[in-house]
Amino acid sequence: MLYREAGQFKASYEADQQIFPILQDRVGVLLLIGFFALAVPLFADQYWLKAILIPVLIFSLAAIGLNILTGYAGQLSLGSAAFMAVGAFGAYNFMLRIDGMPFLVAILLGGLCAAAVGVLFGLPSLRIKGFYLAVATLAAQFFIVWALVKIEWFSNYSSSGVITAQEIEILGFAFDGPVSKYLLTLFVVVVMALLAKNMVRSTTGRMWMAVRDMDVAAEVIGIRLMRTKLTAFAVSSFYCGVAGALYAYTYIGTVEPEGFNLDLSFKILFMIIIGGVGSIMGSFLGAAFIVLLPIALDVTVPVLLGDLVSASFVSNLQLIVFGGLIVFFLIVEPHGLARLWQIGKEKLRLWPFPH
């Protein structure tokens, strides 16, 4: 009753082509953005902003990136963290070497660097697929991190490749507090998420999905495989790159290439599995879940079990719960948290008259 399409007529092309064609969705998204942009900065404390909200937003962006590649275009990748690293180091170098570089342009250029590298490592996808490709993307993961450590130019000759992000200043306003950094991150992430949402229902997105479902069949109906796969790699890496730049500038501040290791790649992969493969909203849910889970375990386990357990046991328990949840989710709901929301919507449609 509250949530249904009935009675919402699309009388113009514009109405038909909106990103959110249903009124309730539009209102809901606006309310959500309004809540996170206006209410949260007023009430959240520093810890929440710095340790939870900013990383959730950044990882959501990275998860959207991987979701575009894996969820929509069907190319499994285990190298997303490396593309984040390229974005971070790209943005750093643009800021460092060009005087008066605007911050937003720098992170976009960092994203473009990541896109270029992504296309390069996406080339093998034209010849190989499936697990062979997944292993091939590991080459990107190890090679890029190695290159960023060894080629000292990238980190401006600092020891072991550590970079410290410069101050962010846009139009004379310094983004130095957690609130302003949070709002900046939120702005970039919301804009890029809406763009992604729009992209996946466009021609490009539909070509990706056709290739995902069966690439030979897609080729037969006239989709150019090479272009489609490479755009997927480029767009995905672009998103990861921008996420990496934000990671360096608004979250951590000081990053080293080793921080973007295989573990981070897996983390992003888990975000899309748990959130929902092939869903933009799922990327947000998954990122929130994966960021919050260790924090929740850290807080709850000592309270529940008291002094019975040691810190190392808690970290092992985290591994066990983490692994168990992934298996559990895959068995119970292979389509992730996003699918649960889908089911909820169907229920809402009928509520309160189920017959």
Partner: protein
């Protein structure tokens, strides 16, 4: 030239260890079509369990510490643990996920990796442990005197064990009833089911065999580098071995392992100094990637034909 041969032989011998891990992958992939990312974690689990039993058994049973009896008892118990792990995996992970797309199963095995690592360290603790198999890690004198090449007797022992293992597996697959059933399942699941081969038992058996291979690999590796969490990372090196050799080929795993092991050591020694060293971490992947561009199905893999 002697130096070249030393590096080459050292590389080949470490390649044997990669091959052992890759072998576990291949067995499971052939029989159940699951790309088992948890193989590295299984190696870690097996090695840790073995070392753990070696430590606690003398206290429990009163056997002499470091003796033959403790060694074999620990080996049998660890093998039992691997079989239990195989049964649990089949029950908890594989059975509910039958008929899911391969990518889902792959991701499930990543989850399994975390689970197994967490359980292993939760039971036995996360300390680095030494493992002494009673084999000297010294250069063989005969080779030193006659060819002036340094080869550790331990490496030769590892290679011999690997060779015996592969030969035993080949015989097992070729001549036993279960081996035939395994090959039938690998060929065609449906056809195997229709002639009455119990798929689930076969899966348990194949995971248990992979667990056995993991135990052997873990013991050798643990004796060399200590039983520690880093075992799981080294096991990642088995992945380029797999794509080089083909996912479905046992000889491919062996040959691929030797190629990767030798080439990464040679590259590290002869190319590494020019680019700043440390290229061992990515060289195998790039090599395998370049190789895939020429033969997408690997060295011995089955050629794949797409039909719409």
């Amino acid at each position: 030239m002697q130096f070249f041969f030393e590096v080459l032989i050292g590389g080949l011998l470490s390649g044997v260890l990669y091959a052992l891990v890759a072998l576990g992958f291949v067995l499971i992939f052939k029989a159940s079509g699951v790309f088992n990312f948890a193989q590295g974690a299984m190696v870690f689990f097996a090695a840790l369990t073995f070392v753990g039993f070696l430590e606690v058994l003398p206290g429990w049973t009163g056997l002499e510490e470091g003796g033959r009896a403790v060694f074999w008892l620990a080996f049998v118990l660890s093998l039992g643990a691997m079989v239990l792990l195989a049964i649990a995996t089949e029950r908890v992970v594989l059975r509910p996920l039958v008929n899911q797309p391969p990518i889902t199963l792959f991701m499930a095995t990543i989850g399994l990796t975390f689970l197994v690592e967490g359980i292993a360290q939760g039971i036995w603790g996360a300390n680095v442990r030494g493992l002494d198999l009673g084999i000297q890690d010294e250069p063989i004198e005969y080779m030193m005197e006659n060819f002036n090449i340094l080869i550790s007797s331990f490496d030769v022992f590892a290679a011999t064990v690997a060779a015996i293992l592969v030969a035993a597996l080949a015989l097992f697959f070729q001549y036993t009833r279960i081996g035939r059933a395994l090959r039938a399942v690998a060929d065609d699941h449906q056809a195997a089911l229709s002639i009455g081969i119990p798929l689930r038992h076969i899966w348990v058996i194949v995971w248990a065999v992979a667990g056995f291979v993991a135990l052997v690999a873990g013991m050798i590796w643990g004796a060399r580098n200590g039983v520690q969490f880093a075992l799981t990372f080294t096991a990642l090196k088995a992945l380029p071995v797999l794509i080089l050799g083909g996912f479905t080929s046992v000889p491919g795993a062996i040959v691929g392992g030797l190629i990767i092991g030798a080439s990464e050591k040679l590259a590290e020694v002869y190319v590494g100094p020019f680019v700043g060293g440390g290229i061992e971490s990515w060289f195998p992947y790039i090599l395998a990637l370049g190789f895939l561009l020429i033969r997408p199905e690997g060295l011995f893999g089955e050629r794949h034909i797409d039909r719409v």
